[in-house]
C-alpha cells in the first residue's frame, strides 16, 4: 500500500507516494526523476547509488525511502550552484577523474563526505575512503588525482 511521504531533497521539499519497502534509490530515480543517482550492483557493494543523508555518504540501495524522512538528502543534481559546477565536479573534469562516468556521481558524493571531515587527505586516506565506490573502467589513479585537486581547490576557495 503506497503511503504519503515527504522528503527533503537538494533543499526542496518533495511529496511522493511509496510503499514502505521502496528503497531510497528507487524513490529518487523513479518517483522524483533524479536519475543522476545510479544503480550498479544493487547489493551495497559498488557505491554508484551513493547520496548524502544529513551530509554523510550512504548507499541509497540500502536505505528505505521512509527512513530518509526528515533527513536532508543531497544527490549529484544538488551539488552544482545555479548551473555552476561544484569545485569537486570541476576537479574531476580537469583531472580526467571519469571515463564512462557511471560511478562518478557516487564517487563525487563520497568525496564530499571525505573532504568535509578531512580537508587535506593523503592518497592512502583517499583510497580508504573510496573503497566502497567501484570503477569498472578501473580509472582509480585519476580519481585519486581528482580528489587531491578538489581538496586543493576547496581549501584555496576557503582561505
Amino acid at each position: 500500500m503506497p503511503e504519503a511521504l515527504t522528503l527533503s531533497v537538494n533543499g526542496e521539499s518533495r511529496s511522493l507516494e511509496v510503499e514502505p519497502r521502496t528503497l531510497l534509490v528507487h524513490a529518487l530515480r523513479d518517483e522524483l526523476g533524479l536519475t543522476g543517482t545510479h544503480i550498479g550492483c544493487d547489493t551495497s557493494q559498488c557505491g554508484a547509488c551513493t547520496v548524502l543523508l544529513d551530509d554523510r555518504a550512504v548507499k541509497s540501495c540500502t536505505v528505505l525511502a521512509v527512513q530518509a524522512e526528515s533527513a536532508e538528502i543531497t544527490t549529484i543534481e544538488g551539488l552544482s550552484d545555479d548551473g555552476e559546477m561544484h569545485p569537486i565536479q570541476r576537479a574531476f573534469v580537469e583531472h580526467h577523474g571519469l571515463q564512462c562516468g557511471f560511478c562518478t556521481p557516487g564517487v563525487i558524493l563520497t568525496t564530499v563526505d571525505l573532504l568535509s571531515r578531512d580537508p587535506e587527505p593523503g592518497s592512502d586516506t583517499i583510497r580508504h575512503a573510496l573503497r566502497g565506490n567501484l570503477c569498472r573502467c578501473t580509472g582509480y589513479q585519476t580519481i585519486v588525482d581528482s580528489v587531491v585537486a578538489a581538496s586543493g581547490a576547496l581549501r584555496g576557495a576557503g582561505s
Binding site: P20, S44, A57, D113, G132, N133
Partner: protein, 269 residues
C-alpha cells in the same frame, strides 16, 4: 531487488519499540546494513519493520570503570570518540576502521552487527577479547548476558521474543593493557576470512578471540598454546579458503595481534 511487501513503523522510544515488536514477525531496523540486504534477497521477510534508528541508544561513555557502547552507535561514531583512544581499547577502533566502507560505516551499528551474528563479522571477536556483555531489554525487564552466551551460532543469538539489544558493556582493562585486531578480509565482500582479537594485560596475561573460523566467534582456552588449541578446533572451509588454510592463517593472525597488543600494553606502562 526490492524487499517483499512489509509494513513500517517508527518507534518513538524503547518502550514503544517493544510494544511494536510484540508482532511475531516484526524486526527492528537500525542502520539496515545487514537487515536490508537479506530482506532484498528475501531470505528474511518480516511483516513489520520497527525503525529504531532514532532512539536514544547511540553513543559511547565510561562509567564506574566500564565502557558502554549504545546499540545504535555507528562504526563511524567509534572512530571519532575520545574515550576509545587508549591502548587497551585500540582493537575497537582498529576493527571499526576496517568494516565495510565509508558508506556502510556511516549507517551500520554495533548492535545491529551483534544481532545479525554473521560468523564472519569482525566485531564479535574484538568484544569477546574485551570480555563484553550484551545489555537487553524486554517487557519483562532488563538483563545483561556475556557476549559469549549471546552468540549461539551462525546468524543465531540468544535474543528473546520482543527483546531489544540496548547496548554493550565491558570492563575497562587496567593500566598497562593493550589490545589489537588483525584480520584478513575477503577482497570482494570485505568480511573476515579470519580475524584475531587480543587483549594483553599488565602482567602479560592474555585473552585471544577469533572470528571467521566457526559458526560464531569464540575465545581460545586460556593457558594453551594458540596453535595447539587451533589444531583441535573444528574449522570450516569453503571455496575461498580451505580448512587447512584458515587454520594456518588463524595462527599467523594471532601471532601478529599478540605482537601488536603487547607493544601497545608496553607503551601504556
Amino acid at each position: 531487488m526490492i524487499p517483499a511487501p512489509v509494513r513500517y513503523a517508527r518507534a518513538a522510544d524503547v518502550h514503544d519499540a517493544l510494544v511494536l515488536l510484540a508482532e511475531p514477525d516484526a524486526r527492528p531496523l537500525a542502520g539496515g546494513q545487514s537487515l536490508l540486504p537479506v530482506m532484498k534477497l528475501r531470505i528474511v521477510r518480516p511483516s513489520l519493520v520497527v525503525d529504531i534508528s532514532r532512539l536514544d541508544l547511540r553513543g559511547v561513555h565510561i562509567h564506574n570503570g566500564e565502557l558502554h557502547l549504545g546499540a545504535l552507535t555507528t562504526w563511524d561514531d567509534l572512530l571519532r570518540v575520545e574515550e576509545l583512544r587508549r591502548p587497551a581499547l585500540s582493537a575497537i577502533t582498529e576493527c571499526a576502521a576496517a568494516i565495510g566502507d565509508l558508506q556502510v560505516r556511516n549507517r551500520g551499528t554495533v548492535g545491529g552487527s551483534i544481532v545479525h551474528a554473521d560468523p564472519a563479522s569482525d566485531i564479535p571477536a574484538v568484544l569477546l577479547a574485551l570480555r563484553a556483555a550484551v545489555k537487553l531489554r524486554s517487557p519483562n525487564g532488563d538483563r545483561v548476558i556475556p557476549l559469549a552466551n549471546f552468540l549461539v551460532g551462525p546468524f543465531t543469538t540468544a535474543l528473546g521474543a520482543q527483546e531489544l539489544v540496548t547496548g554493550i558493556v565491558l570492563p575497562i582493562p587496567e593500566q598497562g593493557s593493550g589490545s589489537a585486531y588483525v584480520s584478513l578480509e575477503h577482497p570482494a565482500s570485505g568480511f573476515a576470512v579470519a580475524g584475531a582479537a587480543v587483549l594483553v594485560g599488565p602482567s602479560e596475561e592474555r585473552v585471544i578471540a577469533l572470528t571467521g573460523l566457526t559458526g560464531t566467534a569464540f575465545v581460545l582456552p586460556e593457558g594453551v598454546d594458540p596453535a595447539r588449541a587451533l589444531e583441535s578446533t573444528e574449522i570450516f572451509g569453503d571455496r575461498f579458503a580451505s580448512t587447512a588454510y584458515r587454520r594456518r592463517l588463524a595462527v599467523v593472525l594471532v601471532e601478529r595481534a599478540l605482537e601488536r597488543a603487547a607493544r601497545r600494553a608496553e607503551e601504556d606502562r
